[in-house]
């Protein structure tokens, strides 16, 4: 049985004086899972993420950590945030220090680690994001992509069990995206549970184990990535489209219906393999 690390149970949230941002929302995050929260812009994904680390408190419903409802006293929140790390979309919202090294040191020090332990955490986090060469740089002289990596390093240095990233690929160039994905891949292998929000169906499809399809302040459906993204009706309601790989695969199934049984290709390479079989392989 898979164990559920963090869950939202029927949560509602309304920003003061505004429309309801979250409605009757259910979400489960299993330990060791890679979960993508997939939804159009402005659908309330960020609001949901802010609930997952206790920044916002639902007006109805509950957040469950290890199956127990989260309480909102200072102590429980501090405990929650040392286990659940949230990286915001805009790195400037999370970087406050003049240089990279100092900034990354902030989180571990807040956990009460010793100076020596903090220094080794900083080195490891900078190394994990391949930004050791930036350690002495001024934060304000970094590029957007570099700032983003520093913000993630700052969170990694706290070694959270669950790492939540809000639109981690937004604003990154293809190289930056690949780099980020390989960092996340290594993290996943060391057992970190990963959650990220995105509107990029192709990214969610190739990367996530599970997808929660999000629209108008609620999770329409959560389940295995390929199943979610093959559901045209669901995608239309969520104002999303089918991933390119899946779209092409479906077109191929029309010609060779038997292949549908193999299961959909999950990567570009798997799709290429399928295509080669259709047209007879390389000449």
């Amino acid at each position: 049985m898979t164990s559920i690390a963090l869950a939202a149970n029927g949560i509602d949230y309304t920003y003061p004086g505004e429309v309801r941002a979250l409605k009757q929302l259910d979400l489960t995050i299993e330990k060791g899972q890679r979960l993508a929260i997939l939804g159009a812009n402005g659908s309330g994904k960020t609001t949901l993420l802010l609930h997952l680390n206790g920044t916002l408190r639902p007006s109805a419903g509950r957040i469950l950590i290890d199956g127990r409802p989260l309480s909102y006293d200072r102590r429980s929140l501090v405990a929650l945030r040392s286990r659940v790390g949230l990286v915001l979309q805009e790195p400037d919202d999370q970087l406050f220090s003049a240089n990279v090294y100092q900034d990354v040191s902030f989180g571990p020090l807040n956990l009460g680690l010793s100076e020596a332990a903090t220094r080794s955490r900083i080195d490891a986090a900078l190394e994990a994001l391949r930004i050791s060469h930036l350690r002495d740089r001024a934060t304000h002289m970094l590029s957007f992509g570099q700032k983003k990596r520093v913000a993630i390093a700052g969170m990694l240095a706290m070694q959270p069990e669950i790492l939540i990233l809000d639109e981690p690929t937004a604003g990154l160039d293809p190289h930056g995206v690949n780099h980020l994905l390989s960092v996340l891949h290594r993290l996943h292998e060391t057992g970190t549970t990963l959650v990220f929000s995105t509107h990029d169906v192709d990214l969610a499809y190739t990367w996530a184990d599970q997808i929660a399809v999000f629209a108008d302040g609620t999770v329409l459906k959560q389940g295995e990535a390929a199943a979610m993204l093959a559901d045209r009706e669901l995608l239309r309601t969520a104002r999303l489209k089918m991933p390119l790989i899946l779209e092409i695969a479906e077109a191929l199934y029309c010609r060779r219906p038997a292949w549908a049984a193999i299961g959909p290709p999950r990567s570009k390479d798997a799709l290429l393999h399928l295509l080669e079989q259709t047209i007879g392989g390389p000449q």
Partner: protein, 250 residues
Amino acid sequence: MLTSDGFAWTNRWHRHHPAEKGLLAGGMLVLAVTLPAPTTAPIIIAVMFVTTVLGAGIPAVTWLRLMALPSGFLITSVPFLALSLNFSSGLQVVFSPQGLEVALSVLLRSLAAVSCLTFLTLTTPTIDLVPLLRRVGVPPAVVEIMLLTYRLVFVFLERAATGHQAQIARQGYVGLRNTLRSLGLLVTSLFQRSLERSRRMEIGLTARGFQGELRVLAPKRSISRARVASAAGLLLGVAAAGLVLDATVR
């Protein structure tokens, strides 16, 4: 301010311990103030120029430009020091050679002092001096505000610059009327954005375990004995040269 900050972060000596640079600049400053100006000050200016340009690798033009502004003020105000008022037979403005000597020595002293500070601003990010403040006993809250302000000034300037560019792109600064209106709008929007940003930053910092105290660790930098020794040697050399020269001139 931005040029000097840029060099402070990228010059050849930016990884050196701030105390080493502080020792050199502070020591020279003390010499500039205490030793006879006409002989010592020119030596100090020359030495600081050489260390800044050849040592830390700052372009000479940048050094000159940064020196130019305070020098301009000094040079225009010094002639008045050479004048004195005489009330014995009505009001007389008197120019005395003695006054001129005093004025020149003040000028030289000030220029030498400015050259020391120029060295420090160009080689050391302001923020590197903050841990020193903490050690001296400045309250943590004040230090934290300094740290935050330093970072946010740049975020703010970036915002202001992009906002300004966006307005220019839409002809916001054509004619006086538009200019005034655009400026007003820019200032208002910066206010709102700063507020909004501070709220978001609070969320961002809370996510990182912020509990009311902004504690950070500076990168570990060891003080190099060799560099401290050379700074001390340089100070002694300058002092000796200044004094000897002064004795021979007299």
